[in-house]
Symmetry: C2
Subunit: 201 residues, 2 copies
């Protein structure tokens, strides 16, 4: 006997969230209904607006509701000739918090993974190539995760940079192998920037 | 530097969900944006509709978008003179799944907790009293959690039933002390119904 179709639907819908199983979806639904309807209404609006208006920055591919994000638009950032290539928008957050970097970013939204059908186009390397053609960067800092896939992706991009005579570096020092960039503390991440090494082939 | 106010707002809003800290809120937001925008739109709609339209059943207090819920409206359920008192709507779900009970429910939406200012009115005992006055029940089954508060609440209701000469029972067998009703497996919960004991004072 279904008591409340709207409640069933709410519980079911909450399961699109990663890590949310049937029991926690139920707990979340009851919590919103019983303790925080205003928070629930806010949440609904925030999700709807984000899903509808957030797209990718045309230059760096990070999530933004503008055509070009605030970092790419910033003249001080543009004057700095460094481009930091990261896997995810969360990695930008992590690098920004170190205060060590004042260049711009390029977000792959993943890494190369040929077995899953994720090739250069899927991680936006055609867009990156266009930028290498049209802009003059002093240095490309490859800040993909220190995993097998992240390393392979970094190497692929390093080769891609060869014709352009740009300094290519790979962040290195301090990040535990197999770890994820966004989980690393700020100090470690700072070190990995300072200790970056040449990848010019 | 805030890159996307809508994204920041989404991450912040997700934290109204119980058990969701800043890191998992961020993971959820990126997941929706990158992998499941349709699921996100659905979620937004489901939350909005649930928050707006779900209220409490006038008779049993469970969550429903109707004035009176499907169980309270059911003539077969009405013909059965048993009323099962539970703490939460999730407990109804759990009892229904045992298939052992075909009466109606009364949902306290909590338990007595004088120190937190939760007295008889806050758990709807005035509504229950009115039902005891106006309907004739054969039996009140007290299925509050087997915790100190659940036991105290059960005893309070048992005393409340004294003037009405109704059989009052307390589910007992099989539920681990200190446990929560909705976490118990169906067999254990069935046993606790079969093994219920008189609480008539
Ligand atoms: Zn950008
Ligand atoms: Zn009802």
């Amino acid at each position: 006997m279904q008591i409340s179709p709207l409640l069933e639907n709410l519980i079911e819908s909450l399961r699109v969230l990663p890590g949310v199983g049937p029991k926690s979806a139920q707990r979340m639904a009851y919590h919103l209904l019983q303790r925080n309807r205003a928070g629930g209404i806010n949440l609904a609006k925030a999700v709807e607006e984000a899903m509808t208006h957030i797209d990718h920055c045309e230059l760096c591919r990070t999530f933004t509701e503008e055509k070009v994000c605030n970092i790419c638009k910033n003249p001080r950032r543009q004057a700095n000739g460094q481009l930091c290539v990261v896997e995810t928008p969360a990695d930008i957050q992590a690098v920004e918090q170190t205060g060590q970097f004042s260049g711009r970013y390029f977000v792959l939204m993943g890494h190369l993974s040929p077995l899953d059908g994720i090739g250069p186009r899927e991680i936006g390397l055609d867009v990156l190539q266009q930028r290498l053609e049209s802009e003059s960067f002093y240095e490309i800092i490859l800040a993909t995760n220190p995993t097998i896939e992240g390393d392979a992706t970094a190497n692929y991009i390093a080769e891609m940079c060869l014709p352009y005579n740009i300094k290519v570096t790979r962040i290195a020092h301090g990040i535990p192998v197999g770890g994820e960039l966004e989980m690393v503390d700020g100090t470690t991440l700072s070190h990995s920037f300072v200790g970056r090494r040449d990848l010019n082939l």
